[in-house]
Amino acid sequence: MASAGAEAVLTVEGLRAYYQTSTFGIEREVRAVDGVSLHIQPNEIYGLAGESSCGKTTLVKAIAAAIRPPLRVLGGSVAYRFGDRRVSLYDLDAEELAAIRWKHLSYIMQGSMSVLNPLRRVRSSFVDFAFRHIGKPMPEFIGIVEAHLERLHLQPSVLDAYPHELSGGMRQRVTIALATVCRPNFIAADEPTTALDVVVQKSVLAMIRESQRAMGASMMFVTHDMAVHANLSDRLGIMYAGRLVEEGTTAEVFRRPAHPYTAHLIASLPRIGDALTREGLGGAPPNLADPPPGCRFHPRCPLAMEVCRREAPEMAWISDTHRVACFAANVEAAP
C-alpha cells in the first residue's frame, strides 16, 4: 500500500478546517476541508485538483500552518518528518513554528506575483525571509542567494530590482526562488502559474520541477488546471466540496478515472486536434455552508444511487496506489 506512513514526509489524518463566523449572533460554519487524509512521500509532487471553492486553498493553508481566523482547524492532525525529526504542526508554539517555516516548510501563496513588497528591493525580501534560517554572515548569505538564483536561471541583478520592474513571469520566478532558497523539505504551492500566459507558464513549471528534483523536496502543487497536473504531478488527489474523492498516480487517474467527477473533468478537457462534442456537467457546485447529505456529488452525479443520497462514501483502495470515495466505483464499500 502507498500509505507507508513511516516514510512519508507529510501525513495528514482526518483534517477538518472550517471557517466559523458569528456576526450579530448568526453562527455560520463553512466546512471547507472536511475529513481529509493523505500522505506525501519524499521527492514527490502531489497534485491537488478541484474547482474553485472546493477547499483546495484551505487545505494548503492548513498544512502550511497559515491558519488565520475565521479559519480554524477543528480536528485531525498534520505531521511532518524533516530528516529524522518528526513534528506535529498543531502542537508547536509560535517560536518553534517560525523556526521551521521557510527552512523546512515553505509556501508559495496564491497570487504570489503580488506578494513581494512593492516598496523594497527584491534583495530585502530575501534578507527578511531567509537570512535567519541560513545563519551565515551577510556577504556569504548574498553569495548563497546569488548562486541559488543562477541555478534557477535568474540573473543575480534581479536582487537590485523593485517588483514593478519585473514582469509577471519574473516575479513568479523570484517568489519560487524565495521559497526554495533555504532548500526546504516540503513546499506547498497554491496555483503558482494560474495568472501566467501559456508560454511563460510552461517555463515556470519546468523551473519548479527542476528545482524540486534537484533538492529532492516534496511538494503539494495545487491547481484547477488538469493539463498542468498531467505534466507535473507524480500523484494526484481530486477534491470535491471539501473532501478528497479520488487519489492515485497521475497516469492511473488520467487513464482510469474511478470517480464520476474525475471522469467528467478529464473527459471534458478540450484538446487541439480533437473537436468531438464535449458536455458540461449539470447542476451547480455545492454550497459548503450547507452541503448536500450523503455523497456531496450525488445531485450532479450521472451514476447516483439511492444509497448516495443517505450515506457518504469513505475512501477505499481499488488498487495498490489508487483509492476512491464512490459507491458506484467501489461496489464492496456500498452497504
Partner: protein
Amino acid sequence: MSEPLLEVRSIVRTFARGGLLAGHPFRAVDGVSFRLEADRPEIFTIVGESGSGKTTLARMILAMVTPTEGSIRFQGTNLAGIRRRRDRLAFMRQVQPIFQNPFEAFNPLKRVDRYLLMSARRFRGARGAEVESAADRALRDVGLSLAEVKGRFPHELSGGQLQRIAVARALISRPALIVADEPVSMVDASLRMSIVNLFKVLRDEHKVSIIYITHDLGTAYYISDRILIMHEGRAVESGDARTVLDNPQHPYSILLKSAVLSPDPAAREETLAT
C-alpha cells in the same frame, strides 16, 4: 447582402505610456484587419497572450474605445460616426458584450433579474407583461428560467449560472454580434464546456456571430470557425481555425501551440524538459 456584418480595416490604437515628459506612445493594437460576413454566422476567435491587444480590440469593436487610426464599420455604419444617443442604442441593440468575470460584471447589490428586465425595456421597448416574458425566453435559451433567478443576488448563483445569465442578457436585444472577452476563464472546469457549447447553439440556432476572445487554444480549436492570432498588437496569423491550429505557420503561432500543455500524462517527460 454585400454589406459585411463587421469590417475592421487596419485599426491602430495607441496609449501614452510613461510620464508626461518621458512618455512615448504604445501601440496596443497595430494595424489589424478582418471582416465578418452578414449572411454567414460564425465563431471568430481572437487568441493571444496577455498584453497582445485582444481586449483593446474588443473594446474598439464595442465602440467603448475609439481607434487612433483605421475604421470599424458595422453593417456599413462607421462606429466613429455614432454620436447621438439614438444611434448608440441602435448599435448596442445589435452588438452585445459578455465579459470575463461574471462576479465583477454584475453589481453585487443588485438583483440579477433587474439586468434582464432593464435590457428588455431599453432594447426591446417591451412594456408590462412583455418584459418578463422576453427575459424568460432569453433565459430559457441558455437553460435557465426566470423563476430560478428572480430576486436572486449574484452571490447566490454560481459562476457558470451568472455567465449564462450574462449570455441571456446579451440575447434579449436579439443582437447580430456578441463580443465575448474571455468568457470562460473564470468559470469552473465542470461548467466551462456547457458555456462553450452554448455559443455553438447561438451560432446555429439564433444565427448570431460571435467574436470569442481567449488565450485557451483548446476551447478555441473546439468551437471556432475562423481564428486570428495576435502578438504585440499585430495579427500574425489568421484563417480557418482547424487549419491554423493543426499546422501553424508563423513562428509565434508555433511557439504558442507548443506551449499548450497536453492533458495526457504519457507525453509529459518531453513537455517540461529544460
